[in-house]
Symmetry: D2
Subunit: 498 residues, 4 copies
């Protein structure tokens, strides 16, 4: 196996936003790494490029395994699990950043481990540190040696240099220097630690399994191991689970939370619980809202599989137009068309999706998709639907126009590659060649996630920077590299769908 | 790579019927093997254990590649495709037979190749030869040496011994000796040949791609390469495609066709066209018929993913009960949990499916599944749904009770492992612990596939042996091994749901 | 792993003759395949491309494993050995033919297996069948289907068509149709069978291990398992070993034996016993003979490692010139520089051999090599020695000029690539740029192997066709392809070193 | 690929001393990594467990590759070399330490890399740092985070914390803190750096290739790339090669050199030049000295292959007893009998060596081996020779008794496992069951390496701690762990052969 892997480059893989990470940890069960493997398998949708697990056993110390590829392929065999003994373990799944200059190396795969004077600690992280470059420069000047190109490694080095006498306090020291979005799962020999940044941008939940404690990005990972969902880790909270129980600390200056609204739209698994409701129900509500805002006469409501499905069901229920599977997904598509022939690469979306020709012919079709990023896939799907003889194609998008890159742990294209950054709704409709195209309004999205009065523009309830350009934390590294934040006034004109 | 592979043994894999093969061939395009790889990828649902491709090029002769695993992993790279040059190629995907005494060897993977005095031919086959054992004994006595344990190899040896001077005529000779169900794609240096048995049990379709001809198990494989669906190969037809065009022969005694009705229920892909209609529409019609026959008061109609989905949509549309995704399938489950730890193996169905807890709680749920084989998965799903707090669970099965094994190319358990062979509908309901359970009637199924008057018991329109025990071809090898066919009268009593 | 492998193509690999096979079998021990694996490991020098083992166990039938690469890498793990149970097993190691049009496929790797009406048999073979093409054509015309491109498969098909009622008799039938050189090890469920062609061209020896019987290409494979060398299988003998003991048959017309004299020069391992003496001793005697025939004044006698070593020691002992290791072989060179960079491929012989510069500088060196084939390696070695500052370089070759290809199981270049087919001894010396070069005479070689009066030209005691062009069996397939045998008279002039 | 590998455990692998490393670097050629790969291939005898290469290219920065296994298998393909562009590169081969508590991880494989404020540097090392534990503790307390368990990583961290403004000066700072034996090859973006510890325990040589500079553990690696041997790097020298030329620094307090005398006996390749003479000649001289000190009447002198060969030739030349290959080494034995069956593992030395039975029978044999470590292999060889019918077996060992572990980069067993630490010469002879056994005296060894008056006991010319227990640098980490150095007086009694 190569020590590094080129990010996959199929055309249709470019045309979606990707969560960069999922984290999971458990303390208090024998063979903790088995539970972590199962939890990571349930979180695989948050990252498919690589995964890692670290465990600790009093006799055999800290052990780790890191692999490119799926959890099921790398972390479910006895052979691997036996190398990861102990009653405390954490793990991580990672998505490939599409804009990175070189392929991911196995040393970039989390969790990261550091040996401190008082013992070792391992740490994994979902999110993005927006001042990582500055921190890294400073640490190198003082003699720290980085193992990886990962921003998260800064946290370990900051901890190593702290003068605090215990690891959680060193972590507090370190995290106070860090800007951005982070949901962290960390461990020492005797502690499982979860931390969420003060804004709570990324999710992190706490669960119980008998006497054991579990921390995860999402609740769906509790279900697979039979753990009970206790509560969310609160924004700004550092929670320490040991055999004795739970301790909470709040090391940061309090701020009003800004949870990522896109977790509702796309990232989280539909069977996870967010805000007391299943994500599926929220998405169905999004579809209903979309139908109310943008009705159309049609014969069928079809989802773009699989992410558009719940919203399409909601659209159908609200509009009364029958729901149907007009596009069939080949369930054997994986990320592993490694270096296909030119001819096969060019097939693009047809390797993955096929139109249900006999069903679609002569029909007026409402196509429900979760978002439009570059628009390349949407355009091809529209062509396939028309080739199959559809009479009309109406796009209904279950989110506002994605016009701004995310700097908080979601892999987005550069701004100039985002279709909605440069085109109005009508222009996008023309670009895709559709009969109509409508985005959900930002207020509509807020209503669907439970904010009856829509967005509070004075003090927004969520991080919606990808739609609004309103960044709750200034992305300092990116600004240093030339990214220009704009004033709300200028923005308004460019993203008319808001 | 091992030369053989143990069939996968996850508990939830035992509890479904599996198609054993898909076939695909093309003549008249450069790099024919690329098209075959794409076609096989589209037919992957018909067999995931292994695949093979043979091509012919005037300069480099016949070449072949055979691999365990998915088409996308083995047959899409330039490295492999370049070893398969030429303008004519055929391929095959294969399912593992669950009852075989030893693991599949790579030499058992089709297509098979034979060098005859007038040149070589390769052949692949979907179906099952019911007199293979007797033929094999006879051939060995006359000095034939078998390479594989596959029944299909008999055809090649019968062809080798024919006195005819051309390969299609040798194939006619050979196939007249063969009993059972077979849809064959074969090739010589200059011909692509398709054959369907006289009953037409398995599907086979003919398509065009510019000047090239294509033969496939299903039409969905035409869509991926942009080929046009011309017509079905007729039952009993041997069709020869060359650069000059198409020639049809009918070498068998004519019989009334008996197409496999289960292809409509489960095997074929929903976007394939069978009988002039998409399989999806037929399954939606099955769901409607099921709702008419077996209505129930409930809050939600949920499919068992993914095969129950179209019927669940039909049930919802007919009954007016809202459709919802109450069970979420982990899209990263594959066949590759190879030798997992005991603990992980025991997770069984939870590795694959999770209940949408927040949605299901307190609801009366109609669960629509395509069939019940052993019932093991159904039972676990019912438990998961109840654990999540559902108030009632009503199973609605989109086919009649599966009470008889198939001998025509479908991998079914021995009769005593089939739940419906030993239990009545009520007993099955009690066994699963459901609040109610209803199968679709055999007449209802016939109506849904377009036979307005239901089954013609005097002369059934389909092969429905798995439901009725009415085998259109006597399975001679199995009878020799002790299988007892029963009279319709005795059968009636045992399978009350008919 | 690929199903086929390109033959290695390092320049220095072209410049030697290669044995094509080693065979080994055992009956009467539990886990017979372990013994076969060890025996094949000891015979690895006879073939490194691939190996195979077949075993038979009453409960689990015939089993086989075939792999490209070394025995130690493929056949020594419990995982593999457990798939090969039983008390009788045979095996084979194979060399890649350098002139084959396409890479070896795994299906070409022996032993071959055939299922006959009275049970199965497996067979492996060292040698070459000189009328294989004609036999193959005839068999195909009668309906046999070949699995491989191997000549040896003919034997299995001829056996399948025999009307005899037991397998050894069918083998007699088959072998009477076969021309060429063959040392065969075969097995049925209860018998281990060894056969040597009437001329006894290739070696085959019989051994005992307690109550078990062992058959091998060479005695060195008896030593590794602790078996006792009983006797050679005689030319023309078919020996059958069962639990009851040994039975000998002589199915062929008796002929005067012509054992391959090159086995003494190069192929056999130095610790094997041939003709009652260790091969090492024979090679030392060859070196002594060479020193007597071709003395020279010099400071050091150095072998070309490793095959020239025993003859160099003999030369030193006879001449009194000190023996020294002037060329050091890198023991980590393998056959596995797979697709090296252009630059590394061009290093050629330097990857494998290095001159002991400090030792050689200013010395007159006698370089002893076993033979000269294409001369490419010899030329490079001479350059390296001179670069290191040697004062004189005298080649002494421990065999006569190799001027004719072998058709009896040794991989030789086409005649026009053999240096000695086109150049006289003096021309070769000039070509290599040496100060002198002398071959051993054919009579000298005969004396060294124990024929005090040298070669009996009326009725030669050995097969020496590679030196003399005197082929004891006409190579009919090659003649059909245009190879011209010459009269001894014409030959004499071309190969003056005789 | 596993991220770590269990050290090989064949019985006969335990019974030798193993060099732990070879280093190689080049600056000033395009594709420097190709030259490093070739150099490492030539140094493979110094370490077979794993290898690594780092290169630097202005456009693509620092790149590295690390692999378990042979250089030829991992670093010779275009695929790998292309990932290592640039005109400066260094590399390392590593032997597995047999006493390490856990398998080597890939992160322990050198070269190590560190990013400093003024740019990156990579470093690899042959030797052992005897105060590494203390240094590591200190560094961790100050916030350094170690990537590996390798002692060499300390150097990188000490460099990172230095306040010097350029990398060579930082290296001087770091190395002044380090105790033990080290021959280092390091690189920056524009410099190739070699350093040898003040005692010069391990070898390091400087060469030229046109305008390029090369540094290597041994001269044999110059030959393979055609480089010219310029001189040894001097003990205590830090040499910096750039495109402009060579700069020498001497950062350490001067000491009298103590080169490892065992490099002459065993570690270095026979074609390398040490002290102006080929190692082969020194070994031949050792054999002559051994014959003079310990003559015996016999028929044959046989080496234990392959390391005993030059000394056996020397013994033969001095004694007049003919040299012969009485033991034949199977050249296809590798380190890759991975997890063989129990039965095969028990074969032990027979998998690797076979006695030339026909040659040995009835003879009086002098067996020359380079050293006796645990004696397990010697004992088995003696048994094999006797089984073959030898009349007498006389061991002559080409070095003094190995009675003390090495702490300077050679992998030796714990003292209580060293046969000569607990037995006298006569006891060892009895233990092996030989007719006689004699070691070379320490003075004899000194004479053979060119010290006409033998060892200067007041101020020994070499490091001979493994024979004498006279450690030139106190092994502080080992002393901390309980190792007891003894006074020369007490030692004398225990190791009588001195």
């Amino acid at each position: 196996m190569p020590a590094s892997r080129t990010p996959p480059s199929l055309p249709f893989d470019d045309d979606a936003l990707h969560e960069e990470c999922g984290v999971f940890g458990v303390i208090g069960v024998p063979d903790a790494s088995t539970f972590v493997a199962l939890g990571l398998h349930a979180l695989q949708h948050r990252g498919q490029e690589a995964g890692g697990i670290v465990s600790y056993d009093p006799d055999r110390g800290f052990n780790s395994a890191r692999h490119f590829g799926y959890v099921r392929d790398n972390f479910t065999s006895s052979e691997v699990i036996e190398t990861l003994p102990g009653a405390v373990a954490i793990g991580h799944v990672r998505y490939a950043k599409s804009d990175q200059p070189r392929p991911t190396a196995i040393r970039d795969v989390q969790p990261f481990f550091g040996e401190f004077a008082m013992g070792g600690a391992a740490l994994s992280h979902n999110g993005n540190i927006t001042n990582a470059n500055a921190l890294r420069r400073e640490l190198i000047e003082h003699g720290s040696i980085f193992q990886s190109s990962s921003d998260s490694e800064c946290i370990i080095h900051l901890m190593a240099r702290s003068l605090q006498r215990d690891i959680p306090s060193r972590m507090e020291d370190a995290l106070r220097r860090v800007e951005g979005a982070f949901s962290i799962v960390a461990m020492t020999r005797t502690k499982l630690i979860g931390v969420r940044d003060p804004l709570g941008v990324r999710p992190l939940v706490l669960g119980r399994l008998g006497d054991a404690w579990v921390i995860s990005s999402e609740t769906c990972a509790f279900d697979i191991i039979g753990a009970e969902f206790v509560r969310e880790v609160e924004p700004g909270e550092l929670v320490i689970a040991t055999r004795e129980g739970i301790e909470s600390r709040f090391p940061f200056r309090p701020r009003k939370p800004r949870f990522c609204i896109f977790e509702h739209v796309y990232f989280s698994r539909p069977d996870s619980i967010l805000g007391g409701r299943s994500v599926y129900e929220t998405r169905e509500a999004i579809g209903r809202e979309l139908a109310r805002e943008n009705p159309v006469e049609a014969d069928l409501v079809c989802p773009v599989p699989d992410s558009g499905t719940p919203a399409a069901i909601g659209y159908s229920l609200e509009s009364g137009i029958p729901y149907a599977m007009g596009i069939i997904r080949n369930q054997y598509v994986g990320r592993t068309f490694i270096e296909p022939t030119e001819q096969i690469r060019n097939m693009g979306v047809r390797l993955k999706l096929n139109v249900n020709r006999a069903l679609i012919r002569g029909k007026r079709v409402v196509l429900v998709d979760d978002s439009v990023v570059r628009g390349t896939t949407s355009r091809k799907i529209k062509e396939m639907i028309c080739d199959a003889g559809a009479r009309e194609v109406h796009f209904r998008i279950a989110s506002p126009p994605t016009a701004w890159p995310c700097f908080y742990g979601v892999d987005t294209p550069r701004r100039d590659k985002l279709l909605a950054a440069t085109m109005s709704e009508d222009e996008i409709c023309a670009h895709l060649g559709a009969d109509s195209l409508k985005f959900l309004s930002l207020d509509g999205l807020y209503r669907a996630v439970g904010e009856a009065n829509g967005r509070n523009n004075e003090s927004p309830q969520y991080c919606d920077a990808c739609f609004s350009g309103d960044y709750p934390v200034a992305p300092s590294d990116m600004i240093e590299q030339g990214f220009r934040m704009e004033t709300p006034a200028r923005r308004k004109k460019k993203t008319p769908a808001e």
